[in-house]
């Protein structure tokens, strides 16, 4: 009996290759589009999250100048309100600070043997590597000794290295010229990928003292990056920094502060509200694809099975019982949806791998739940709408079914 049903299913599907093929195609496209769409969405979310994490963890950034809050905000954005002393005071007086890195940055034209580039020159201290999660590809980062002696040494970001010396070259020991001052290259950082706000790969790091002497010519710092020891202490550390700096700058009203504090949690909160919107967008696209795919499958199944009402009538007329007719059509619907489902999963998976391969900034993630959802909905729709009209036809009297137009 079962062998008969399987054989009938096989013959019936293979005798109508175009019809079976089109039905399977509808299922394949429905499933593949949902899986690809969701994998791109999740990949995008993950890449946004990892960019934010690459800035550094538990990070609080102190910037000079108040954000405009209405009224007169003297010195807003003037860039000259924070000093090395502020940084040293934070380091000395505030607890739960794991590392602190003042930074004096300026864009400048940099030349090396016959090449040049315009890049961010970051004057900073050794702790900057800790605070901003910078890892070395080769050589060393700036040392305390270099900061004390205002050494003319430079560490290149991966992109800056590529621009000046060519991709994957080893520039250690070479000389670069920044504002007519020669610096020895002592290290190259590992590429981190763009973090959106400033690109850590397209930067050149020098000791902060050297930057102040030779490049910016002032004693101010453009930002102070503070890493708290853990997530829990961030709020306390941020408040203490604020209080300390207000006191040091002689400001009583926090609204008039001549500096601003941004912590990474704020950035993550903003970003996650963006990715949340993004998720809603992608889920609606996936949902609509699923709906359209489902309706396509439904139409295909309804028309093909309804077309076969006469065949069902004939089967009944020659004495085949309803249950066998039902079982055969159920088996056909299952076979079609599973064949199409498997192909659709494979295609969707393949497509998301291709996206990863050709869109370098995006690593797609195929999620099991999207596979199950897409497969489940298409299989459900396919089976219901493959089986239901067949069942209805098998319940007709054979003569009615045979006369069906």
């Amino acid at each position: 009996m079962i062998a008969d049903i399987l054989k009938e299913t096989f013959w019936s599907l293979s005798a109508n290759k175009v019809r079976s093929g089109l039905t399977i195609l509808g299922i394949v496209i429905g499933i593949a589009s949902v899986i690809t769409m969701v994998s791109i969405g999740q990949g995008a979310q993950a890449s946004i999250a990892s960019s934010i994490e690459s800035i550094g963890s538990n990070l609080i950034i102190v910037r000079p100048g108040a954000q405009r809050t209405g009224g007169v905000s003297s010195g807003a954005g003037s860039n000259t309100t924070l000093t090395m002393d502020d940084s040293n005071a934070i380091k000395a007086e505030i607890q739960n600070v794991q590392a602190i890195a003042p930074e004096d940055s300026r864009r400048a034209q940099v030349t090396a043997k016959g090449t040049n580039t315009n890049t961010q020159i970051v004057g900073t201290v050794p702790d900057y590597a800790t605070v901003r999660s910078i890892a070395m590809d080769s050589g060393t980062f700036i040392t305390d000794q270099a900061v004390k002696s205002s050494a003319k040494v430079a560490v290149l970001g991966a992109t800056a290295r590529d621009d000046l010396f060519g991709a994957s070259s080893n520039p250690i020991g070479q000389i670069i010229r920044i504002r007519n001052v020669d610096f020895d290259v002592i290290g190259v950082t590992v590429a981190k990928g763009g973090s959106g706000f400033t690109n850590p790969d397209d930067s050149i790091y020098v000791p902060i003292t050297s930057a102040q002497h030779f490049i910016t010519g002032d004693t101010f710092v453009s930002t102070i990056s503070v890493a708290a020891v853990d997530q829990a202490s961030m709020v306390a550390v941020q408040n203490q920094i604020s209080d300390l700096l207000l006191k040091r700058h002689g400001i009583s009203d926090p609204l008039q502060a001549d500096f601003s504090l941004v912590n990474q949690a704020d950035i993550i909160a903003t970003a996650s509200s963006i990715t949340g919107t993004f998720t809603i967008l992608l889920s609606s696209i996936a949902g609509i694809s699923l709906l359209v795919g489902g309706i396509g499958i439904m139409n295909m199944m309804l028309t093909t099975v309804t077309e076969r009402t006469r065949e069902i009538g004939l089967r009944k007329a020659v004495g085949i019982k309803k249950i066998y007719i039902n079982m055969q059509f159920l088996a056909e619907a299952v076979a079609l949806t599973f064949l199409g489902g498997a192909a659709g999963v494979a295609l969707g998976w393949g497509a998301s791998i291709l996206v990863t391969k050709f869109v370098s900034s995006l690593t797609t993630q195929v999620s099991m739940s999207s596979v199950l959802l897409a497969f489940g909905v298409s299989a459900g729709v396919g089976i219901v709408f493959g089986f239901y009209p067949a069942r209805r036809a098998a319940n007709l009297s054979p003569m009615e079914a045979l006369r069906y137009e």
Binding site: R310, A317, M399
Partner: protein, 225 residues
């Protein structure tokens, strides 16, 4: 063989009741070749559906081979059709894009027979119905009308039925092919098969040895040759 007593069939469509059969009684003996003839709307198709266990009468009794058919349920009717009745339809009703052999084997699906037995019986029936051996593996839609009807006849024979019911079997065929198909029925009848033929063409009815005429749902005449 067949015993009909006061068969009535009333179709209800909304409030309108239409009586297609208004009490028809007759008997058919084993080995007879009966033509049921009548104009369209006479009730002959309804009678044929009841005789073929495709439908049940609203009133009256119908015995086939000693079994009361009129009270059977859907699946029991299927069982009866499978074991006792062979159908030949006007529109042939073969499965398209399917081989001749598989078409003939269709009624044997889901029965306790091996594939080998099925194929042997199908080939036997095809030869019996006068089908050329070379066409056994052709697809049904590659055949001529006459060949299709032979395949349908072979299919009707496969369960060795008590009666063969032919519903306008020549309706889609030209005169020459019609005669060839009718000769095939005559041949089957000579071999002992009981055949009931439904037609509206008096010329075709002449092949039978008994002609029952139906008009307006009642039996008008019953002439044995």
């Amino acid at each position: 063989m067949i015993k009909c007593k006061g068969l009535k069939k009333i179709y209800v469509n909304g409030d309108v009741e239409t009586a297609a059969l208004k009490g028809v009684s007759f008997d058919i003996e084993k080995g007879e070749f009966v033509a049921i003839i009548g104009p369209s709307g006479s009730g002959k198709s309804t009678l044929m559906h009841i005789l073929g266990a495709l439908d049940t009468p609203s009133e009256g009794e119908y015995f086939l081979d000693g079994q009361e058919v009129s009270k059977l349920k859907d699946d029991e009717l299927s069982e009866l059709r499978k074991n006792k009745i062979g159908f030949v339809f006007q529109a042939f009703n073969l499965l398209p894009r399917t081989t001749v052999l598989r078409n003939v084997m269709l009624p044997l699906l889901y029965t306790e027979t091996t594939v080998k037995e099925r194929e042997e019986r199908a080939k036997e029936c095809l030869r019996y119905a006068g089908m050329e051996e070379s066409k056994f593996y052709n697809l049904s839609n590659q055949l001529s009308g006459g060949q299709m009807q032979r395949v349908a006849i072979a299919r009707s024979l496969i369960n060795n039925p008590a009666i063969i019911l032919a519903d306008e079997p020549t309706g889609n065929l030209d005169t020459k092919t019609s005669h060839i198909v009718m000769e095939a029925f005559l041949e089957l009848n000579k071999k002992g098969h009981t055949i009931v033929l439904i037609t509206h063409e008096p010329e075709i009815a002449q092949f039978a040895n008994r002609i029952i005429t139906i008009r307006d749902g009642v039996l008008e005449s019953d002439i044995k040759k």
